[in-house]
């Protein structure tokens, strides 16, 4: 049972970023009155926002403001801890992911996630890339399909040339930057609609950061990308839209240039000037 209406095979990709519009289907992600508690602590307070399809949106704010929590709501990975309570609604491409008929497995298939520390699995590079295909396959996979998927995914993230001769080496042995690219590559064979990134560059050096940012630009348009970052300069460089959060509340959401050049809210202005954080 597919999560997002469309059949999974040959799901068409949105070819270009759609123009901003008020139609609900134009939103990649829309939240309504989203509240979240870790036991008694309220980490998200009435979040209402619409994240556009096919662009890069960054989530910024000081530590503990709830940006990672919000990100982890979008694939419901927060729920692996028993003490989390969520109320409200999140619509991904028009479908509420908290509806009872939503399958978590299908949801996570169409919403990929990249973590703060690169976390390739302790298996070969090849197996890492097709891990998603394997766990979602009904029967055995055809070898040629696997080979194609691996080549395509690694080409998309720019690892194919370096790694094509050692696909069966352990993924753990790669450089951090390659590991993180691999973590992005392993999402692609599943053809996700949305890619969530939780500070994907914080473990990388300058070169690695640049490479991942370039990769994000390449992927933009095909995928809706949401990135949490601590690094305001990165948000400014690498995102189209920007959301500023503080103490579990969404303070401001607008185009990135506007947020950095002419913030509406004084708290945003103080944060981007570096008065706190």
């Amino acid at each position: 049972m597919a999560f997002l209406d469309e059949p999974m095979k040959n799901a068409p990709r949105p070819s270009s970023p759609p123009a901003a519009g008020s139609d609900a289907m134009e939103d990649g992600i829309a939240t309504r009155e989203l509240n979240l508690w870790y036991a008694k602590f309220q980490a998200l307070k009435s979040i209402n926002t619409r994240i556009k399809k096919g662009v890069i949106t960054s989530l910024i704010g000081p530590s503990g403001c709830g940006k990672t929590t919000l990100l982890r709501c979008f694939n419901r990975v927060n729920e692996r801890y028993g003490y989390v309570t969520t109320k409200g609604e999140i619509k991904l491409l028009g479908k509420n992911i908290y509806d009872p008929d939503v399958s978590l497995i299908e949801l996570r298939r169409s919403v990929g996630m990249v973590f703060q520390r690169p976390n390739p699995l302790p298996i070969s590079i090849y197996e890492n890339v097709i891990f998603g295909l394997r766990i979602h396959a009904d029967g055995a996979l055809r070898k040629s399909d696997c080979n194609d998927a691996v080549e395509k995914a690694l080409q998309e993230v720019g690892l194919w040339r370096d790694l094509k001769d050692r696909l069966h080496d352990k993924a753990i042995g790669l450089q951090l930057e390659q590991q993180q690219k691999l973590c992005i590559a392993r999402l692609l064979p599943l053809k996700p609609k949305i890619i969530l990134m939780d500070e994907p560059c914080s473990a990388l050096d300058v070169e690695g950061t640049r490479a991942i940012e370039e990769l994000m630009f390449e992927l933009k348009g095909h995928y809706t990308i949401v990135i949490v970052t601590h690094n305001m300069a990165q948000a400014r460089r690498a995102s189209d839209e920007c959301i500023f959060m503080l103490m579990g509340e969404l303070v401001e959401h607008c185009r990135t240039e506007q947020l950095f050049l002419a913030p509406k809210n004084p708290k945003t202005a103080e944060y981007i000037e570096g008065r706190y954080g």
């Binding site: 497995i105 699995l121 766990i135």
Partner: protein, 307 residues
Amino acid sequence: MLARTGRRKPSTRSVWVVWIETAFEWVIRLCGISAILFVLGIFYFVFSKAAPIFFESEFSIAEFLFSTQWYPTSEVNVRYGVLALIVGTLSVTLLSMLIAVPFGLGAAIFVSEFCGPKLKESLKIVIELLAAIPSVVWGFIGLTVMKTIIEKTTGAEMGLNVLNGGIILALMSVPIIVSIGEDALKAVPDSYREAGIALGATRWQLVYRVLLPAAKTGLLAAVLLGVGRAIGETMAVLMATGHAVNIPGSLVDPVRTLTATIAAELGEAPEGANHYRVLFMVGVLLFTITFIINITADLVIRGIRRK
């Protein structure tokens, strides 16, 4: 370090503190080395008691290893063949591992990945209690409860046999396999789990595609500690296996193990007699078997790591 470099500037620390620290360092060093000393000492002791047997005419190493005739106290024709005892030990151990490994690893996976925090805590306490039951109590259970059950269900004449010993040993090894196995799974970084979950893996897929490959060395160690326990166990098998020198043809045949033989006969063998020395030789054999298992395990683990 600072105190050593400059003589002019005396250390502010008192001589006593320095002395005490040095003393502690030596005590700790001694503790570390003592393991080696003990192993060597025990090996020397057992081997020196056993060695004179090689010069006796009535003993041959080939007969010892390959004969099933164990008549150490016969007055006319003394025979010291331990093949039946080796087979006895191996068959009981094998059976117990066939039961305990799936059961123990399954329990470890359940405790570590599937059950809630409260159940987990209580299960861990109970499993530790299970590990603390003395082996003679297990033997007692085998001798009474398990014996009756086996006689009723299999129709065997005698409920003390390979099956009984194997089950009792399995019950004794499971807690070790569970607790070490659970540690091994706990040591798998949570980031692997998150990676799997975020890709849409079900709990089972997470277990067999991510956790088992990641924890395999630790799980192997858990199994091997279980094997070690099973091979070395004496009292429970002495009571539960029927103690008959016999190569078993079926699960309900009685056997005798190497360890049980030593325990049962050493007290009656006069010190320095050939029987006494052969029993020490059996000890050397046991030592060798466990040594081989440990070395193999070590090599296997290294092999897995390198891959």
